[in-house]
Symmetry: C2
Subunit: 329 residues, 2 copies
């Protein structure tokens, strides 16, 4: 049973905008989110209108009206001014600049409106209603094209003083190391994101003469981000080169986990995103390295697990931020 208050959460991505209504415990009222294409090339006014359309559709699909909604939360990607409620220069929406998301939604619906970074929102979603619902603190790494991160301590989102909190994919783990997509070197993301796994695979095959089940595909075309699952599958099937690449990836993610265990020391470190489809054995390898490399107490006591909310973490977390705002009023 879902009982009021209800909150709308919206998760804005480069391709699509997803929204849903959740109740006071973070449970969604509909199985499927309301979705619209972002169509960012049509400009930011259109993008804002699409966000509003998603809010209306989410409310209607939940069988509710606007009067039933206590507050709205919107999560967006890219550089932003979180306290100001503004998207600055989102890299996936190249024509958008200084988009006043929070003000627009608040004016459109006359509701208290929360604004949050999408990776922070996903972490808050897992903290509130996912794998961390019984935890006091949590760090979420979302493994995808890049590595997103969110940090929640005692129901507080570490947004950072300049809205750059929890950019932990851009921690240096190897000085002067691999080039990251951001232009700097040695970041976790340059080792363990999906793109980085594909790149490391191409480099390994180019520098290795031995047999590998990955070679025939590589000869046709270098591995790309979307081929990552094949590299994991080859590792499972016993291909030694793929096995080493995936084991190295687990180690890099273990190092990333340790750096957060020695900084935030959260109750849980959570991994989410496409890579977790790989299954429990990959998580076990991450755990192995994190526990080997951490201080004994956090090594023994930190829960390291997979995320539970999948692609809905962001919208549930955005709704959770709306709930935080509403409760504080």
């Amino acid at each position: 049973m879902n009982t009021p208050p209800f909150f709308v959460g919206v998760d804005v991505g480069g391709q699509s905008i997803k929204g849903g209504v959740v109740d006071d415990r973070g449970q969604r009222l509909t199985t499927k989110p309301a979705v619209e294409f972002t169509e960012s090339e049509k400009g930011q006014e259109h993008g804002l209108a699409q966000m509003a359309k998603v809010v209306r559709r989410a409310i209607a699909e939940a069988g509710l009206t606007l009067d039933d909604i206590a507050a709205i939360g919107v999560a967006t990607p890219g550089t932003m001014d979180i306290p100001g409620g503004v998207m600055l220069e989102p890299v996936n929406m190249p024509t958008w600049h200084n988009v006043p998301v929070r003000q627009y939604i608040a004016d459109e619906f006359k509701k208290a409106t929360a604004f949050q970074n999408d990776a922070n929102a996903a972490a808050y979603g897992e903290f509130w209603a996912g794998c961390g619902r019984d935890a006091k603190s949590l760090v979420l790494f979302t493994l995808g094209t890049g590595i997103g991160c969110g940090i929640i301590v005692n129901d507080f989102v570490i947004e950072g003083e300049h809205s750059h909190g929890a950019e932990c994919g851009h921690m240096v783990i190897e000085m002067n190391g691999r080039l990251c997509g951001c232009g700097q070197r040695g970041h976790l993301e340059a080792y363990a994101s999906a793109i980085s796994i594909a790149k490391r695979t191409n480099e390994a095959l180019a520098n290795f003469d031995g047999p590998s089940s990955l070679r025939s595909q590589f000869m046709k075309q270098p591995f790309e981000e979307s081929d990552c699952s094949r590299i994991f599958e080859a590792a499972v099937a016993g291909d030694p080169l793929a096995g080493q690449l995936i084991e190295d990836t687990a180690q890099y993610l273990g190092v990333g986990a340790v750096n957060l265990m020695h900084t935030i020391n959260p109750e849980m470190i959570v991994f989410g995103g496409g890579m977790i489809a790989t299954g429990e054995w990959f998580l076990e390898r991450i755990r192995f390295h994190a526990r080997r490399l951490a201080f004994p107490v956090p090594a023994a006591k930190t829960t390291i697990c997979y995320a539970q909310l999948g692609g809905n973490a962001g919208l549930i977390g955005a709704a959770g931020c709306a709930r935080q705002l509403w409760r504080r009023r």
Copy 2:
């Protein structure tokens, strides 16, 4: 003018225990702290009695009586259970085990008693009454034998779920890199602590045939932690080898700063401890590397500065934690 409420802060070290009384704005009532030797070899009961002696002396030297004191705070080193108020296995007090510091002081003085890690307390001292008194968030690196760290966000000390928050000296900045005193590899502390600077200097001299003003001393005896100031002096005097060693140190500290700028994204990153006697030029080199390696927004907006409270940061911060406790009651 110092007006009530007054708080006692105590900073317990391996060699000595320092205490002082501060007012509601973190101003000390006496210029010099009350000090007793820890004499840890005499056992933990003696150590607890010494802490109590320091509390009494600090109150007396401030011209007050126990009735004037609102609360007491004690900061200690080593592994601990912060919520439990217990020192576990402090490395510098080898015979001490599970020392119930908070309970002992609370029973002895019948006052609300706060307990905190010494590096966290120093960070809180700088946040409350030092260089960060106008800031909303701050990370303090204390450069000494090791690298201590404390993180304060919105008046909240990041203690960590298992009392291991802000062990940022033990962030990995170089996988499989230099051996750290803790037994793991590649930690910031293994590159930029005073001991590490001495070790890197010895290694550089052993692997370098050219002239260096450091060589004559090295030929007599390898550099030790206490010789660090000479390496800085040689760098200032133009010795190229020393210059490179110190420039590398600034870069390592810059990387450490960046990893916190991309995790906590605090308003200020503060460096304290013996190394800051070196002067503003060394800080400027740390700033240079941090700004070069960070994202543009935190690079432009994060204040990077030296600490202001010197060796009193810990006791002032311990008193500040006592004030937090007292205000919440």
